[in-house]
C-alpha cells in the first residue's frame, strides 16, 4: 500500500485580527497567495493536482461561497483542479488533510492541496448572521456555548490554576520568540503582500510576555474566572497550505517529504468542555497507529486556551518538552480555519528537524470535538 505524505508546508504570517498587518487583506486573496507560494516552492505541475480542499470555520462574506474554488482561480491553478471548502470549525484544515488522505486511499487522486484560511478581522466569529436554533439553545445551551466559557469549565473541572495557565502562556511566547529570533519560522512562512507592503513576520508573538504582566489581566469570560486574554489564543488572521500526496508522486516530482500520515481520528466530547476534544481523538489515532503517547517525539497540540492545552497534556500524559517546540497558538495566533494545516505541517517539519519517529497533531473543536493526526518519519 502506498504511503501518504506531507510533501510541503507553507503558511502566511499570523497577525492579530482588527489591528494586525493582515486586517486589510481579503481572506481569499491571502489563501491564494499562500497556495501559490506552496505550488511554486514544490515546482510541481499544478495540472497533476486533483483538488484544493480548504478549511474555513466561518465560510461567509469574503471567505464565503465555495471559497476553495475561488482561491484556485486567484492562485492561478488550472481550471481542471477542483476545489472544496471544508468546515469543522477549528479542525477544518486538519479535516482537509484527512479527506485528502482518505481520497488517496480510495484511489481518488494522488496529489491534493490541503489548505485553510480565516480572516477574523473581516468575518466575525459566529458570522454576520448568528441564528441559533431557539429550541436547541433552550434545551441544550452548551451546543452554542462560548469558547471562553468552555475554557473556564475545563480549568475548573481539571483544576488548572490561573498561575499554571499563565506560566504555560509565557512559555509559549518564549518558545515562539526564540524560534522567530533564530529564524526557525522562516521556512514555513510565505510572505504575503497587502497593498504595496510585504508582510513576512508573525505579528502576535510577545517576547516580553511575563507572569507579572499576565497576572494583571482581568478575566475575559467570567467575572470570577481564571481565563484571561493572555491565556487564550488571540483572534488572528492567517492562512496555511500543505501538499498531501502519495510517496510515489513526491518521488516522481523530486520532492522530499516531511512525514507520512500514519493514522487519523476524530471524536466528539461534551460541548461544555470542548477543549478536552484532543484526548479522545488522540487516543483513537494513537491506537490506530499502534503506538502510545510515550512513543511520540513531537507533538503539536493547538493552544486554543492554556487551560485546555494543559488539561489535555495531563490527560494524555504528554511530555511538555515535546509539545509545541516553537510555541503554540497562544503566542502565534489561531486563525481558526488555518490552524489544522499549520499544526500538521509544523509537526511534519519538526519531526524531520528533530529527527524523531512519531509526531502527533491534535486540536479541540467548538461544539465538542477533537481531531488528531499521527505522523511518522519518512
Amino acid at each position: 500500500m502506498t504511503d501518504i505524505v506531507i510533501a510541503a508546508y507553507r503558511r502566511s504570517p499570523f497577525h492579530f485580527a482588527h489591528k494586525g498587518a493582515l486586517q486589510k487583506l481579503r481572506p481569499d486573496e491571502m489563501a491564494a497567495q499562500v497556495v501559490r507560494a506552496l505550488v511554486e516552492q514544490t515546482g510541481v505541475d499544478p495540472e497533476t493536482i486533483e483538488d484544493l480542499v480548504l478549511g474555513c470555520a466561518f465560510p461567509e462574506g469574503e471567505q464565503g461561497l465555495n471559497v476553495a474554488r475561488l482561491v484556485g482561480f486567484l492562485a492561478g491553478l488550472p481550471e481542471g483542479v477542483a476545489g472544496a471548502t471544508v468546515n469543522r470549525f477549528c479542525g477544518s484544515s486538519m479535516q482537509s488533510v484527512h479527506q485528502a488522505a482518505g481520497a488517496i486511499k480510495l484511489g481518488a487522486g494522488e496529489a491534493f492541496l490541503c489548505a485553510g484560511v480565516e480572516s477574523m478581522s473581516r468575518v466575525p466569529m459566529m458570522g454576520f448572521n448568528p441564528m441559533p436554533h431557539p429550541g436547541l439553545a433552550e434545551r441544550y445551551p452548551q451546543a452554542y456555548m462560548s469558547m471562553g466559557e468552555t475554557a473556564e469549565n475545563v480549568a475548573r473541572r481539571h483544576q488548572v490554576t490561573r498561575a499554571d495557565q499563565e506560566a504555560f502562556a509565557v512559555e509559549s511566547h518564549k518558545r515562539a520568540a526564540a524560534a522567530q529570533a533564530e529564524g526557525r519560522l522562516r521556512d514555513e512562512i510565505a510572505p504575503v503582500t497587502v497593498g504595496s507592503t510585504t508582510v513576512a513576520e508573525d505579528g502576535c508573538i510577545r517576547a516580553d510576555a511575563s507572569p507579572e504582566g499576565l497576572a494583571a489581566l482581568k478575566p475575559a469570560f467570567r467575572q470570577d474566572g481564571t481565563v484571561t486574554a493572555g491565556t487564550s489564543s488571540p483572534l488572528t488572521d492567517g492562512a496555511a497550505a500543505l501538499l498531501v500526496c502519495t510517496a510515489e508522486y513526491a518521488k516522481r516530482h523530486g520532492l522530499e517529504p516531511l512525514a507520512k500520515i500514519r493514522a487519523v481520528a476524530v471524536a466528539g466530547c461534551a460541548p461544555e468542555v470542548m477543549g478536552m476534544g484532543p484526548v479522545g481523538a488522540s487516543q483513537k489515532a494513537l491506537a490506530r497507529a499502534g503506538i502510545a503517547a510515550r512513543d511520540l517525539d513531537v507533538v503539536e497540540l493547538n493552544e486554543a486556551f492554556a487551560s485546555q492545552a494543559l488539561a489535555c497534556m495531563r490527560e494524555l500524559g504528554l511530555d511538555e518538552a515535546k509539545v509545541n517546540l516553537d510555541g503554540g497558538a497562544i503566542a502565534l495566533g489561531h486563525p481558526l480555519g488555518a490552524t489544522g494545516a499549520r499544526i500538521v505541517g509544523k509537526a511534519a517539519q519538526l519531526l524531520k528537524r528533530e529527527g524523531g519517529r512519531y509526531a502527533l497533531a491534535s486540536q479541540c473543536i467548538g461544539g465538542g470535538q477533537g481531531i488528531a493526526t499521527v505522523l511518522e518519519a519518512v
Binding site: M131, P132, H133, P134, A137, Y144, S146, F221, Q223
Partner: protein, 795 residues
C-alpha cells in the same frame, strides 16, 4: 485667566458643516488650515476644536513630543475636547524648535504659550519668518495688551487677540481685540470662521486688561470673596446666594475658585494691579486673604491638585465620600452643611426680595451685586461699546444666566442707582442717564438696548441668525398649551417648541404634535421645524407620570399613553409636509424618538442623543426600536442578512448608549448621513428652516416599508450575547430581563425570517415589551431611583 465655570458642559456651541467651513469673508482668504503654538490646556483645546470644525491643524509645542502627548491625552480626557475620535486625525502635532516650517501654509496661527511678553515677542519673530503672506496671527493672551504685543512689529496689520475660554470646545465666548493697525479683513475672516466653523459668539473688545469677561468676572469673584469673609458667611451660604438667585452656575464663587485653581488668584491680582490704574475698583478691592495664601502654600489649590480647596472630600468609617468645607474665619475644615437662610427662600423668585432681606445672605447679595453691577456698568464704553456685548460675554464666558445689565434690569436700575447713592457710592454715568428706564426694552416686538447716546437701539443679530426668542417677542403663537407651542417662523414654516420642565414629553406635548400635524395638513404651513432654546431639546418622556400611573395600576391608561406617543410619532413621519428636528443639548429617550421620526435633522454639534430607556428598565416604545431597525437596515456598510441591523440596534439600545456629540450621533445612525450639523447654536434654527424649505419642494412623505427580521433564532443569539456579559458581571439580573424584552421587539417576536414584518407589528411588540417591563418591580425601582437621584439603578 481662561475660565471654566461649574455649569454642566451641556449647553454649548457649534457650526454649519453644511456650509463650507470658514467660508471666506469678503476681502479675506478663508481659513483652511490653522496653526496653534503651545500644547497646554488652552492651545491643545483650541487645536482640537478647530479639528472638530473639520479643519486641519498643526499643533506645535516647545517641549519635544509635548504636542503629540497632548493629543493622546485629549483622546482620553473628560469632558472630551474632541467631538469624535476621527477629529484627532486632523491634528498634526510637532515640535516648535524643528518643525516651525509646518506653519508655512496655515491661514491662521494662534499663539497660546506662557503669559510672558518677551517669550511671546520672540515667538512672533519666528512665526513671522515662516508664515505665508496675508496669514493671520493671533494671541490667546488673557492679560497682555495688544499694544505691547505688537509694539514696533511689522506683523501688526495681521495681528489680533483671540481670547478663548476654557474648555474651548464647550465655552461659546470668543473675545476679539483688534489694534489700530489690524486689517479689517483679518478681523472679518476670524469672526466669520469663529462664528460659523467654531460656533463661537465673537465679542469685540477694547484693548483693556482682562478684556470684558475676566475683568468683570474677576471683580465679581474678588467682591464675593471679600464680602463673604466680612459678613461671616459660610462658603456653602455664599455659593448658594451667588448661584441660583443670581443665575450663576451652582459652583457659586468658592466652588468656581476650586475649579479654576486657587493658585491663579495671586497671578490674576498681580496682573490686574500692574495694568489697571490705582483708583480702579478692581485694584482698590484687592486683598490678600491669609486663608488663601495658606491653602496655596499647602498645595490645596482646588480640584486639579486632588487635595481640594475650599471644599474637600473625605471618607467616613464606612468608606462613603463626604463633602467638607473650610470655615472662612477659623480656617478649619468641617462637614459641609446645607445653607438655611431665609433670604434664599425669599429671593427664590424675586432678586429684589433677596437683596432687601436683612439677613446676612441678603446683605451679601446686595453688597456683591452693588460692587459688580456698578463696576460693569461703569466699564461701558471702556471695554466695549454696547451693553449687550458685556452681557453676552458674561453669559457665554462665565455661564451666567443673565449679564450685569440684565441683572440690573431684574433689580430695577432706579433701585440700583438709589442703593448706590444710599451707600455713598458714585452712580455710573450710564446708569444715571438711564433714569427710570431699563437697559433693555421690547419695542414693536423687537429687543432694544440702551445705547451710549442715551437712545435705544435694536439689538442686532449677526446675518443669518434666527432666534426663537426673537420670534416669540414679536408674535403670538399659532397654538399653545401647557407643554408646547407652535410658532410661525416665516416663509410658511412653523416651529414646534417644547416648554415643559426639562422639556420632558407629556400628553400636552403629544397633543401639540397632533395639533401641529393637523394644522399643517390643512395647509397652515409648508414645513415644520421642531426646536426649542432650552438647555436640552428634551430629556424624554415624563417617567414620573408613568410611575404614578403604575403605582395605581392604571395599566390601561399607561398603554394608552404609549399608543398616543406612537401615533404622534407616526403622524410626524407621515405628515404631508416635511418635518425637521433641530436639537441642541440632550435629546434622550422619547426626545430622541421625536427626532428619529423627522424627515431630516439639523443638529447642533453639541447634541447628546440616545435611546436610554434601558437605564430605567424599559424599552423605547414610541417607535424608537422600529426606527433604529430601519436606519441600520438601510446602512450601506452593514453586511446583509437579518441579524446585523438587529445586533446594532440591540447593542446601542440595551446599553443606553448616548452619543456625546452630533458627530457621534452620526456614527450611531441616530443622524443619517444626509442630516446636517451646525456648530453655532444661534444658527441652528435658521439652518433647520432652510433645510425644511428645501424639502418642501415636491415633498412626499416616506412610504412605509416592511422589515426583514430574524425572529426567535435572532433572539436566541442575542440572549447568548447577554449571558456572556452577565458572566463577566457586566449585565445585572434585571438587565437580562430588559434585554430579553428588547430582543423580542427587535427580532420581530415569533416572525419567521422568510416573512416580512410590518412596522405596525414591531410597534406592537415595542408596546408589549414596554408594558411587560413596567409591571416588574425591578423596573419600577429603576424609575423611582432615577426620579429621586437622577442616576440609573443597577439592579
Amino acid at each position: 485667566m481662561g475660565t471654566t465655570t461649574g455649569a454642566p458642559m451641556i449647553e454649548t456651541e457649534a457650526r454649519a458643516i453644511t456650509a463650507p467651513a470658514g467660508k471666506a469673508a469678503q476681502g479675506a482668504g478663508p481659513i483652511r488650515k490653522v496653526g496653534v503654538i503651545g500644547a497646554g490646556v488652552m492651545g491643545a483645546g483650541i487645536a482640537a476644536h478647530c479639528a472638530n470644525a473639520g479643519v486641519p491643524v498643526v499643533l506645535l509645542d516647545i517641549v519635544p513630543g509635548g504636542a503629540a502627548r497632548a493629543v493622546q491625552a485629549m483622546l482620553k480626557a473628560e469632558p472630551a475636547p474632541f467631538m469624535h475620535k476621527g477629529a484627532a486625525r486632523l491634528v498634526t502635532p510637532g515640535d516648535l524648535g524643528s518643525q516651525a516650517a509646518l506653519l508655512a501654509d496655515c491661514d491662521w496661527i494662534v499663539e497660546a504659550i506662557v503669559e510672558r511678553l518677551d517669550a511671546k515677542r520672540e515667538l512672533y519673530a519666528t512665526l513671522d519668518a515662516v508664515r505665508k503672506p496675508g496669514s493671520i496671527l493671533s494671541s490667546n493672551t488673557s492679560t497682555i495688551p495688544l499694544a505691547a504685543l505688537t509694539e514696533g512689529a511689522g506683523f501688526a496689520r495681521d495681528f489680533l487677540i483671540t481670547h478663548f475660554f476654557n474648555p474651548p470646545r464647550y465655552m461659546r465666548l470668543l473675545e476679539v481685540v483688534q489694534g489700530p493697525e489690524t486689517r479689517p479683513e483679518a478681523v472679518a475672516a476670524i469672526t466669520e470662521f469663529a462664528d460659523r466653523a467654531l460656533g463661537k459668539t465673537v465679542i469685540p473688545c477694547k484693548d483693556r486688561p482682562g478684556f470684558i469677561a475676566n475683568r468683570i468676572g474677576g471683580l465679581w469673584m474678588q467682591s464675593a470673596m471679600n464680602h463673604a469673609v466680612d459678613l461671616r458667611l459660610s462658603v456653602e451660604e455664599a455659593d448658594a446666594v451667588m448661584g441660583a438667585p443670581l443665575g450663576i452656575p451652582k459652583t457659586g464663587v468658592f466652588g468656581l475658585l476650586d475649579l479654576v485653581g486657587l493658585d491663579l488668584m495671586p497671578h490674576v491680582a498681580a496682573s490686574m494691579k500692574a495694568s489697571l490704574p490705582a483708583e480702579d475698583a478692581y485694584v482698590l478691592g484687592l486683598r490678600e486673604h491669609a486663608l488663601v495664601t495658606r491653602l496655596i502654600a499647602e498645595g490645596r489649590t482646588g480640584r486639579k491638585g486632588g487635595k481640594g480647596g475650599f471644599y474637600t472630600r473625605a471618607k467616613d468609617a464606612e468608606g462613603n465620600s463626604l463633602k467638607r468645607a473650610i470655615d472662612l474665619w477659623t480656617g478649619e475644615d468641617r462637614a459641609s452643611e446645607k445653607p438655611a437662610l431665609e433670604s434664599l427662600e425669599a429671593g427664590r423668585r424675586d432678586l429684589r426680595k433677596l437683596v432687601e432681606h436683612p439677613d446676612r445672605g441678603g446683605r451679601y447679595a446686595r453688597a456683591v451685586l452693588l460692587d459688580t453691577l456698578a463696576y460693569a456698568i461703569g466699564l461701558v464704553p471702556e471695554v466695549a461699546d454696547s451693553i449687550e456685548s458685556v452681557d453676552a460675554a458674561m453669559r457665554l464666558g462665565y455661564n451666567w444666566r443673565w449679564g450685569p445689565f440684565e441683572l440690573a434690569d431684574r433689580l430695577g436700575p432706579a433701585w440700583l442707582a438709589a442703593a448706590l447713592r444710599e451707600a455713598g457710592r458714585p452712580v455710573p454715568p450710564l446708569l444715571e442717564r438711564l433714569g427710570e428706564g431699563s437697559f433693555y426694552r421690547t419695542e414693536a416686538g423687537r429687543l432694544q438696548a440702551f445705547g451710549l447716546d442715551g437712545a435705544y437701539h435694536d439689538v442686532e443679530r449677526p446675518e443669518g441668525v434666527l432666534l426663537l426668542a426673537d420670534v416669540k417677542r414679536r408674535s403670538q403663537p399659532l397654538a399653545r398649551n401647557g407643554g408646547a407651542s407652535l410658532w410661525d417662523i416665516g416663509d410658511g414654516v412653523a416651529c414646534l417648541e417644547f416648554h415643559t420642565k426639562m422639556n420632558a414629553l407629556d400628553p400636552d406635548v403629544l397633543g401639540m404634535i397632533g395639533k401641529a400635524v393637523a394644522m399643517g395638513t390643512k395647509g397652515g404651513f409648508r414645513a415644520l421645524v421642531i426646536h426649542n432654546e432650552g438647555e436640552n431639546f428634551s430629556v424624554g418622556a415624563n417617567i414620573g407620570l408613568a410611575l404614578f400611573a403604575a403605582n395605581i395600576a392604571a395599566w390601561g391608561e399607561i398603554e394608552g399613553m404609549v399608543e398616543q406617543g406612537q401615533k404622534a410619532m407616526r403622524a410626524l413621519r407621515n405628515a404631508p409636509f416635511p418635518v425637521v428636528g433641530a436639537p441642541s443639548g440632550m435629546a434622550l429617550g422619547g426626545g430622541c424618538e421625536v427626532l428619529l421620526h423627522c424627515d431630516a435633522i439639523e443638529a447642533h454639534a453639541e447634541t447628546y442623543m440616545g435611546l436610554v430607556e434601558a437605564g430605567v428598565g424599559l424599552v423605547p416604545a414610541w417607535g424608537g426600536c422600529t426606527a433604529m431597525l430601519r436606519r441600520w437596515s438601510e446602512a450601506p456598510k452593514l453586511p446583509r442578512g437579518p441579524m446585523p441591523p438587529v445586533a446594532k440596534a440591540f447593542e446601542m439600545i440595551s446599553t443606553a448608549q448616548v452619543a456625546k456629540s452630533a458627530f457621534e450621533a452620526r456614527e450611531l445612525m441616530l443622524l443619517r448621513p444626509t442630516d446636517g450639523i451646525t456648530m453655532n447654536r444661534d444658527r441652528l434654527l435658521a439652518g433647520a428652516k432652510a433645510r425644511a424649505l428645501a424639502l418642501a419642494e415636491g415633498y412626499k412623505p416616506p412610504e412605509a416599508r416592511p422589515l426583514r427580521l430574524p425572529g426567535a433564532s435572532g433572539r436566541a443569539a442575542l440572549a447568548m450575547a447577554v449571558e456572556q456579559q452577565a458572566a463577566l458581571g457586566r449585565a445585572t439580573p434585571h438587565d437580562i430581563v430588559v434585554c430579553g424584552e428588547l430582543a423580542k421587539a427587535l427580532t420581530g417576536g415569533r416572525r419567521d425570517p422568510t416573512e416580512e414584518t410590518a412596522e405596525e407589528e414591531v410597534l406592537k411588540l415595542e408596546r408589549q415589551s414596554f408594558m411587560a417591563l413596567l409591571r416588574t418591580p425591578a423596573t419600577l425601582a429603576r424609575v423611582e431611583h432615577m426620579l429621586e437621584t437622577g442616576r440609573p439603578l443597577r439592579n
